[in-house]
């Protein structure tokens, strides 16, 4: 288990904070900016997840003899 389990809490925290920001911006009548914030946060989290997916696929390729 050498992987950072804290990233789980990080993703959940980003989700909650973005939801709060979205709500606040909606109350202020700036829903467009809220949508942009959601999109950018999604891209950031997606980058984190994609990095780990790449790790997983590389490892599976090496374990199950997929050298190609």
């Amino acid at each position: 288990m050498n992987y950072d389990v804290g990233l789980i809490f990080q993703i959940a925290g980003v989700g909650i904070v973005v939801a709060m920001i979205h709500t606040v911006l909606k109350q202020m009548g700036k829903e467009e900016i809220g949508n942009w914030v959601t999109l950018i946060a999604f891209v950031v989290v997606l980058y984190m997840v994609a990095t780990v997916i790449d790790d997983l696929f590389t490892k599976i390729r090496s374990v199950f003899l997929f050298q190609s």
């Binding site: 809490f9 989700g15 997929f66």
Partner: protein, 135 residues
């Protein structure tokens, strides 16, 4: 006791996903994917130990290593296809999940063709009459 770690990880993720899902379902989904990957990475290490053992046994038993490697590749395809299909089904894309599973099945059949042909040839050489018919 690594099982306690994994169970704890799964439960924490379940609770966090429940909380996040109310506001932003996308982040809950990414959370699920991330946890699935971490558990799978943990499992891959254990599977590697098993595969090393089986490979050693095969070498000791003078089995042709190409067949063993084909079997490992098939196992790998099965695991990864199942993983991708379940994530796709989790996101509500049942059609994509079915296609991933179908692709896994077809690719496994393709990889098994050399083994099947070897089996058929062996059986045909065992039966004199049949080999006479086919050759």
């Amino acid at each position: 006791m690594e099982i306690i770690q994994i169970v704890g990880l799964g439960m924490i993720t379940t609770f966090l996903a429940l909380v996040v899902k109310e506001q932003k379902p996308v982040f809950a989904f990414l959370l699920t994917v991330f946890t699935g990957i971490i558990i799978f990475l943990f499992l891959v290490d254990k599977i590697a130990i098993m595969i090393d053992l089986i490979e050693e046994l095969a070498v000791n038993a003078n089995v042709n290593l190409i067949y063993v490697q084909t079997i490992f590749k098939i196992i790998g395809i099965a695991y990864i296809a199942e993983f991708g299909a379940q994530i796709a089904r989790d996101a509500g894309q049942g059609a994509i999940a079915s296609k991933i599973e179908l692709t896994g099945k077809v690719l496994i059949m393709i990889m098994a063709i050399p083994i099947i042909s070897v089996i058929i040839e062996t059986i045909l050489t065992l039966i004199p009459a049949a080999s006479g018919d086919f050759s």
